[in-house]
């Protein structure tokens, strides 16, 4: 894939614009995934994907042939997502999902669980979503990269253009804020789990 990407990049720089379409096709899914995980909104994620590949094309002549195109475009995607978050923060838009208590997508760990568990999981997801909204754009991106995308501190720092210590602190601040927001609800979640386990032992 890496060699293919490099060959495509050479073709693009040689004037064959359509070769970039193949690069977009190869990487659009992964870019959409990270864009959605950061923005948690489909429309925003689509916007980030488009902006990412636009920026990527314009900066393609600066692409270092020794690096990986996937990593390179991933970094651009993160910065585009960060820009979207900054824009939203500045415009102070209240997401419609928050206003109506709806979620764009709910990750339910166990679909075979009972209605009480599903309800609690949904409640936790709503709280998590709200807690994520309270993070600063940098904290949010750093947390998603570290916790969800499992990227190293160095990678986060490189993508955000900050020192590794700053990236680490951003993750720490995000975790503390999420913990403060979610801890009260997690207690009830754990209690429900314990009750379910006890019931299963009795049966």
């Amino acid at each position: 894939m890496g060699n293919d990407d490099y060959a495509l990049i050479r073709r693009v720089l040689a004037g064959e614009k359509d070769a970039y379409g193949l690069l977009v096709a190869h990487h659009s899914q992964s870019v959409f995934r990270v864009a959605f995980r950061i923005t948690e909104n489909e429309a925003d994620a689509d916007e980030v994907v488009q902006e990412t590949f636009l920026r990527g094309y314009r900066k393609l002549q600066d692409f270092d042939a020794r690096s990986n195109f996937g990593t390179w475009i991933y970094r651009i995607a993160m910065n585009c997502a960060l820009d979207v978050l900054h824009k939203q923060k500045n415009q102070a838009v209240v997401p419609i999902t928050e206003e109506y208590g709806e979620l764009p997508a709910v990750q339910v760990a166990d679909r075979a669980a009972g209605p009480d568990r599903i309800l609690l999981s949904r409640e936790i997801e709503i709280r998590r979503h709200a807690a994520m909204g309270k993070l600063t754009p940098v904290e949010r991106v750093a947390f998603v990269m570290r916790h969800v995308e499992e990227r190293s501190t160095e990678e986060i720092a490189g993508a955000l253009g900050v020192a590794p210590s700053s990236a680490k602190q951003a993750v720490f601040r995000a975790v503390k804020k999420l913990r403060q927001s979610l801890a009260p609800f997690w207690v009830s979640h754990e209690a429900l789990n314990r009750r379910r386990n006890d019931r299963a032992l009795l049966l």
Binding site: Y20, F32, F36, F53, L54, Y57, Q61, Q107, V144, K176
Partner: protein, 252 residues
């Protein structure tokens, strides 16, 4: 025993703590920290990313369709990177033009400056000669005037007159030899005449009388010589004025 801080727990959870073995040992030994870490890690593990909506296989093509209209093709890499014409060509042409203009200027200056320098040197030399001659004729004129007055009926001639004549004689010999190489018969004749007069005065007796002086005046025609010297001085003065008026832009 020092308990783990929240930051240390976060670092341990993400395997980014500086001393993981030490933290692990502490968590095994300290029940309080172990419980706190268990709660903490359970909470963090529970924070899951929302499910990513599916995008079909045609998604990439859709993205490309939406952006390709606003993208312009790159120029061929070879031309752009190795020789980005016409930017470098234009710069190179400018440099060549400047270098050519510089060398042309240098050559022109070299071709035209030598005669000017030569002329200048010649004029400077001529000016020095005129200045020296003017001075020599000035002194000679005064001596001839004194000589004419002394020969007016006095009984003796001034002793300094003879000494002055001797000094002027040696100078005049040099000037006459130099003037002999030039094509100036009036000047040569005047210097020759002056030398004979000076020689006569310088070799006059220790105490020349008025009669001796009058004899010299008569025999040597010193009034005629005086007039001749005055004419030469006027000519020299005129030439000095002309050499001062140098052509415009010409250096001395």
């Amino acid at each position: 025993m020092k308990h783990l801080t929240e930051e240390e727990m976060i670092g341990h959870f993400y395997s980014e703590d500086l001393r993981p073995a030490e933290a692990e040992t502490h968590l095994r030994a300290c029940q309080q920290c172990a419980q706190a870490y268990e709660k903490f890690s359970t909470l963090l593990r529970g924070v899951q990313a929302p499910g990513v909506p599916l995008r079909g296989s045609e998604y990439g093509a859709q993205v490309w369709q939406s952006i390709q209209g606003s993208l312009s093709s790159y120029r061929p890499v070879r031309n752009r990177r190795i020789f980005p014409w016409p930017r470098f060509a234009y710069g190179a042409a400018c440099l060549l033009f400047l270098a050519g203009a510089f060398w042309a200027g240098r050559l022109w200056e070299h071709a035209h400056s030598q005669p000017a320098v030569a002329n200048s040197e010649q004029q400077t030399k001529q000016r020095v000669v005129l200045l020296v001659l003017d001075n020599h004729f000035d002194r000679s004129e005064r001596l001839l005037v004194q000589l004419n007055h002394a020969g007016g009926g006095g009984d003796y001639a001034d002793f300094p007159l003879r000494a002055e004549a001797r000094q002027l004689l040696s100078d005049n010999q040099l000037y006459r030899q130099s003037a002999a190489q030039t094509n100036d018969p009036v000047l040569n004749a005047a210097l020759d005449h002056l030398e004979r007069v000076l020689l006569e005065v310088a070799n006059s007796g220790i105490e020349p009388t008025g009669r001796d002086i009058a004899s010299i005046q008569k025999e040597m025609n010193t009034p005629g010589l005086l007039f001749q010297i005055r004419v030469l001085r006027a000519r020299i003065s005129e030439e000095k004025t002309n050499t001062h008026a140098l052509p415009k832009g010409e250096n001395i």
